[in-house]
C-alpha cells in the first residue's frame, strides 16, 4: 500500500514536469469540457422556459444534475482518463511490455501516469454549478445529505473508471475497439443530457444495468435533494461491485492473453 502510494506520488510529479513543457495545452481539457457543460446548462435553461419539470425534477434539480455529471467527469479527467484512454494503443503497439516488466501493477501505473491537473478548474466550475442549482431550487442541504452526496460521487467515479477500463480492455480480445468506444461516447452523451429519473422501460434497463451512465449523476443528485432510498443505495453499490468484479476478471484475463507484437 505504502509502495503504491509512493509510486502514484512519483507518477504525478513526472506528469507535472511533462505538462509544464506545453503550457498552452495545460487547460485544454478544461476549456473543452467546460464549454460542453455550460452549453448543457443553456439547453436546459431553454427547455425549462417552456416546462416546469422533467421526470419530476424542476430547474434547480436539473442544474445540480448537470453540475454533478460535470464533477464526476472532471474527476475522471483529473485522475485517470488520459492514462486509461491510452490502453488500446499500448496493447496494439506492444508498449504494454514496458508496463508488464516493471515491479508495479500495470493498471495502477497506467491509471495514474497521465493525471491532468489542468482539469481541476472543471471540478471547481462543477461546484459552482451545483451551488447555483442549490440556490435556484431552494434546496436545504444538511450535513447528512452532503455526506451521502460525496459518498455517491466517490462510488460513481469508481464506476466510471470501471467502465472505462472494461471498454478499453476489450483491446486484448478484438482488433479494434473504435466502435465500442463510440458506443461509450454515445451512452455518456445521452446520459449527461437526460437524468435517470426520465428513463422508462427498456431504456432504464440499458442505462441503469448495462451501460450504467444513467445512474452516475442521478443517484448523487437524488441523495442531495433527499429523494434517495435504501433500495437505491443497495442497487448502486451492487452495480459498482458487479462492474468491479467484471473489470478485474477482464483485465486479468486480458493480461494473460496478451502476446507482445514486438517479441
Amino acid at each position: 500500500m505504502r509502495k503504491n502510494k509512493n509510486i502514484i506520488k512519483e507518477l504525478v510529479k513526472l506528469r507535472f514536469q511533462n505538462l509544464m513543457m506545453f503550457r498552452l495545452g495545460f487547460f485544454g481539457p478544461f476549456f473543452v469540457d467546460g464549454s460542453l457543460f455550460l452549453i448543457q446548462l443553456m439547453v436546459f435553461e431553454a427547455v425549462y422556459s417552456s416546462v416546469d419539470s422533467i421526470g419530476g425534477w424542476e430547474r434547480g434539480e436539473m442544474i445540480i444534475f448537470i453540475g454533478t455529471f460535470s464533477l464526476i467527469n472532471g474527476l475522471n479527467m483529473v485522475l485517470y482518463f488520459f492514462g486509461v484512454n491510452g490502453i488500446p494503443d499500448k496493447i496494439k503497439s506492444g508498449e504494454m511490455d514496458l508496463y508488464l516488466t516493471k515491479p508495479v501493477s500495470p493498471l495502477l501505473r497506467l491509471t495514474f501516469e497521465n493525471v491532468n491537473p489542468g482539469s481541476i478548474p472543471l471540478v471547481l466550475l462543477s461546484f459552482g454549478i451545483i451551488g447555483y442549482g442549490i440556490l435556484e431550487g431552494g434546496i436545504t442541504v444538511t450535513f447528512w445529505s452532503m455526506l451521502k452526496y460525496f459518498w455517491w460521487i466517490l462510488l460513481m467515479t469508481i464506476l466510471w473508471y470501471e467502465m472505462e477500463v472494461i471498454i478499453r480492455s476489450m483491446s486484448f480480445f478484438v482488433v479494434s475497439t473504435t466502435s465500442i468506444v463510440s458506443m461509450e461516447s454515445a451512452g455518456i452523451d445521452l446520459c449527461m443530457k437526460i437524468p435517470g429519473v426520465a428513463f422508462r422501460g427498456v431504456y432504464k434497463i440499458i442505462f441503469y444495468c448495462i451501460l450504467p451512465y444513467g445512474i452516475m449523476a442521478t443517484f448523487p443528485t437524488s441523495a442531495l435533494i433527499g429523494e434517495d432510498s435504501l433500495q437505491m443505495m443497495l442497487f448502486g453499490m451492487g452495480i459498482v461491485t458487479i462492474f468491479g468484479i467484471l473489470t478485474a476478471v477482464l483485465w486479468n484475463r486480458g493480461i494473460r492473453r496478451y502476446h507482445s507484437p514486438s517479441s
Partner: protein, 264 residues
C-alpha cells in the same frame, strides 16, 4: 470542373471500403432520436403542445435535424489539414493541379452523396420503429428552399472547417479550438434543441450568423414552419459563403509560405 467531379466520384467509391463505418453512421443517427424520445416524452406527459410543437412535430424536427447533422461530415477536413500541416505532408495537396478548397468541397460532396442514401434509409427505419407520425411540408417552394439552404449550409461548413484547418499554418495547436467549435456548433445549429426555445433576443442575434441556417431553419422549413424566414435565410447564408470564400483565399495566400513540408 471534370477533375472535381472525378475527385467526388473517387471519394464516393472509397466509402464502399469502410462498410462498418456506414453501419455505425446509420446506428448513431438513433442517438439524437432516443434523446428526443426520452426527454420530450417526459416533457410532453399530459401536455398537447410545448413551445408550439406537438410531440410528433418535435420528433419530426429531431428526425430531420439528426439526418442533417449526420450528413454534415466536414469536421474531418480541418483535422486532416491540421495533421498534414503538422507532420509536413500538406504538400500532397499543394502540388496537385487543383484548388485545395475545391478539392475538399468535391471530397465532401462524394462522401455526403454516399452517406445520404444510408442516413435517409436509417431515418425511415426510426420513423417506423418509433411510430412517429412524421410531419413534412407539402409545399414545393418550402422543400426547394430548404434543399437550397441545406446545400449552402454544407458548403459553408466545408469552408469554415477548411479555414480552421489552415490556421495550423499560423498556430501550433488547434485541436482544442476544434473541439470547442464542435461543442458550440451542436448548440447553435439547433441539433440539440430547436432554437425557437431560446429567448427571442438571442434568436434575433443568431439570425445574423450562418449556423442558424445550417440545420435549424431547413429542419423547420421541412416540417412546415418559418416560411417567412426562407428568403432572408438564403440571402444571409449565401453572403456568408461568399465572405468565407474570400477569407479562405486571403488566409491561404498569406500563410502558405510558412509551411515547411517534407521533401520541400
Amino acid at each position: 470542373m471534370r477533375k472535381y467531379r472525378e475527385i467526388a466520384v473517387t471519394y464516393l467509391k472509397a466509402q464502399l471500403v469502410w462498410r462498418a463505418d456506414v453501419i455505425f453512421n446509420m446506428i448513431f443517427t438513433i442517438g439524437k432520436i432516443i434523446f428526443a424520445r426520452i426527454l420530450w416524452g417526459a416533457i410532453f406527459e399530459g401536455k398537447e403542445m410545448v413551445a408550439g410543437f406537438t410531440y410528433h412535430g418535435m420528433m419530426s424536427y429531431y428526425i430531420i435535424s439528426s439526418f442533417l447533422s449526420q450528413i454534415e461530415m466536414s469536421g474531418g477536413i480541418s483535422r486532416e489539414i491540421s495533421d498534414r500541416i503538422r507532420n509536413g505532408t500538406f504538400s500532397r495537396y499543394m502540388v496537385i493541379p487543383v484548388k485545395i478548397d475545391r478539392y475538399f468541397l468535391a471530397m465532401e460532396a462524394g462522401v455526403v452523396a454516399f452517406y445520404m442514401v444510408f442516413d435517409l434509409f436509417a431515418a425511415g427505419i426510426w420513423i417506423f420503429l418509433f411510430r412517429i407520425q412524421f410531419v413534412f411540408t407539402g409545399e414545393l417552394l418550402m422543400i426547394v428552399g430548404a434543399f437550397m439552404m441545406i446545400l449552402l449550409g454544407l458548403v459553408f461548413m466545408v469552408q469554415l472547417n477548411y479555414y480552421l484547418g489552415l490556421l495550423t499554418l499560423k498556430f501550433q495547436e488547434i485541436g482544442t479550438f476544434l473541439m470547442i467549435k464542435d461543442n458550440l456548433a451542436a448548440f447553435v445549429t439547433g441539433s440539440m434543441i430547436p432554437l425557437v426555445l431560446l429567448p427571442a433576443e438571442i434568436v434575433a442575434v443568431m439570425r445574423v450568423f450562418p449556423f442558424y441556417y445550417v440545420t435549424y431553419l431547413p429542419a423547420m422549413l421541412l416540417t412546415g414552419r418559418c416560411r417567412e424566414e426562407m428568403a432572408a435565410g438564403l440571402l444571409v447564408l449565401s453572403g456568408w459563403c461568399i465572405l468565407m470564400e474570400l477569407i479562405n483565399r486571403r488566409t491561404y495566400e498569406a500563410y502558405r509560405l510558412k509551411f515547411d513540408g517534407v521533401g520541400i
